[in-house]
């Protein structure tokens, strides 16, 4: 078990190195650089900047250097824990990303908890009462849940909240708390706003997980050991929860590996629609403005979150399922 985790941890820097090269290649691929976009923006707003000034800025940002030197400079800074300077905002990237990163992770974790808290009981109920009215309702909801893109769901919710209740459900904080320091009141305010985006983000996953749980449990319930337990007079609920439900959970745990990362990257779309202050909208802006060090750093953070998400699920699975542990040792 320890060896298994260690092996994964050793691989982590290797993966991150490969990703950093890929990410850098992608963010500096568009023709032109930040300054070309910057000059174009200035021109469209009526002001201008002299060619010498542009050249001076280009030299200052190191944009005149060959690509591999730019990459090495970025890496050198990263190794020092310095995420570089945002060309657009003229502020350190770490400062821009900091709180937004925390909110990204918190949102994903909330969605994750929501998914499991809803999907597992719903799946168990459906499997215990197949073809009941509630089972059919859940099945229909599941199909629709999987079929609805989450930005669509966010739009519909935002629109109905506005049209029927006159409230705007965008953002993660009330106006008073947007720039406030962290305090208990601010956390409470965050929680008040967080649940809706968390539900929006988690709906599709909840639907999928409910179906998997139902199918897994139905398979287990047909096995002889369940009949034996029933013949011995165990109550239905205890019987189901004691063994079959636990066995049915195993394949579900193995989905964490892709589900948690999917939540991290999926939150990008929900955040853009609902105007949430996490790293998604920041990345979008950075990509459009060719603010490449900011875009590159955020992309690398997404990669890191993805790898960590997979790692967590591997560890959980090895801990839950002895067969995997034995195989590895």
């Amino acid at each position: 078990m320890t060896r298994y985790v260690l092996k994964r941890l050793v691989l982590l820097p290797v993966l991150l190195f490969l990703f950093s090269v890929t990410v850098f290649a992608i963010v500096q691929a568009p023709p032109g650089d930040f300054l070309t976009t910057y000059v174009a923006t200035l021109a469209s707003s009526g002001s201008s900047i002299s060619a010498e000034q542009v050249e001076a800025l280009r030299r200052e940002y190191g944009l005149d250097q060959p690509v591999w030197i730019q990459y090495l400079r970025w890496m050198e800074n990263l190794a020092k824990g310095n995420l570089g300077l945002s060309l657009e905002y003229q502020r350190p990237n770490a400062e821009l990303i900091g709180e937004r990163l925390v909110l990204t992770v918190v949102l994903a974790l909330f969605s994750f908890v929501f998914t499991w808290v809803v999907a597992v009981p719903a799946g168990i109920y459906s499997a215990m009462h197949p073809r009941s009215a509630l089972d059919y309702t859940l099945t229909i909801l599941n199909y629709v849940g999987v079929a609805t893109p989450n930005f669509m769901l966010a739009l519909v919710l935002m629109w109905s909240a506005f049209a029927y209740f006159g409230v705007s459900v965008t953002g993660l904080f009330s106006p008073d708390f947007v720039d406030a320091r962290w305090s208990v009141a601010r956390v409470v305010d965050l929680l008040k706003h967080l649940w809706l985006p968390a539900v929006v983000l988690g709906i599709a996953g909840t639907a999928r997980l409910t179906r998997v749980m139902r199918a897994n449990l139905l398979d287990e319930l047909n096995k002889p050991y369940v009949t034996t337990a029933r013949a011995k007079g165990l109550s239905e609920w205890r019987l189901v929860l004691r063994y079959p439900a636990r066995l049915a959970l195993n394949p579900l745990v193995s989905t964490i590996g892709w589900y948690l990362p999917a939540l991290f990257s999926g939150s990008l779309i929900v955040a853009t629609v609902m105007n949430l202050p996490n790293i998604g909208p920041l990345l979008l802006r950075a990509l459009i403005n060719q603010d490449m060090y900011l875009a590159g750093s955020i992309l690398l953070i997404y990669c890191f979150l993805t790898i960590v998400g997979t790692l967590i699920s591997d560890i959980l699975l090895a801990w839950l399922d002895p067969r995997i542990r034995l195989e590895e040792s």
């Binding site: 890929t22 023709p31 893109p149 935002m158 629109w159 506005f162 779309i269 459009i288 993805t306």
Partner: protein, 376 residues
Amino acid sequence: MAAETAPAVVASVAEERVSVASNWRLVWWRFKKHRLALLSALVLIALYLVVLCPEFFSTQDPEATDARLAFMPVQRVHLFDGTRLSPWVPGVVGKRNPTTLRMEWRVDESRKIPVGFLTAGHPYRWLGVAPARLHLVGAASTDSREQVHLLGTDRLGRDQWSRLVHGTRTSMTIGLVAVMFSVVLGVLLGGISGYFGGLPDLVIQRAIELLQSLPTIPIWLALTAALPRDWSPQQVFFAITVILSLVGWTTLGREVRGRFLALREEDFVLAAELAGASRRRIIARHMVPTFLSHIIATSTLAIPVMIINETSLSFLGLGIRPPAISWGVLLQEAQNLQTLALAPWLLIPGLAVILAVLAFNLVGDGLRDAADPYSQ
């Protein structure tokens, strides 16, 4: 006596039918039992008919803008005029609000615009070649000001129904083409990996793991943002299908590899080898057909994922770009709350997305259950 033997005879006839039926026939028999999957298949056929010739199904030119017709609401179709079957839509009268300078529309039930089938409308080229004017539905009125906007209009006064129909072509094709790319890559690389094993297997497996641990949406966004701005809609379309299938093939690649690994040990492959069949023949004639139905089921389930991805990318402004029309491009119009409050009908294209994804998922589920005809 006779009553007792009859069912047995029927059963044995049925058994005989099953034992001589081809694999595909068995799959079809099982698929047919899924009522919902069958219904969904019909929905998909209808959608692809629209894909073939969206111009015929549209009521107006999807590009025609008219600022005076901006944000016109949905005109509800009434099938009966009194008791007579004669479809019509109510006229809509607009008045500019003097303070907001916005057009405010009011439905005028007393003015009836007749709706006709197979009417003549704006000219187009049928399947891109034959010139035509025929449209499925349209205003059956000689007055050119009396127009039908089945789903209202957008901020530039473009007819949303016509745009939706044209968007269907792009969105439904992109899913299909991206999955086709994924299948080719997945079967090829998964096959090599599973059949040959050894070094190729190791390299391909590591590549799959690497691709699968990429955060998909951010990377897609970065890739599409890197596409040159001056590319034509066709080039962008092609690039996006390639970008989507870059990650899409990995799931299929894994599955194909697993099948190859299992099949390699089967007796019938050994028999074919002993009979002197070439490697290519063994793969193409003996191995692939046994899991082809699985590949079809898996790829059917992959299409809706591609559709959602395309829609999301275009919605964020980094996928298909206007003037090309796709469902995501249409939904981009509904991006902010102000517009939504003013024109909630701009969300209707989202229903098309849900319908298409639902239909693909149901057909895919039906196919998956039917794919293994010998299991019970």
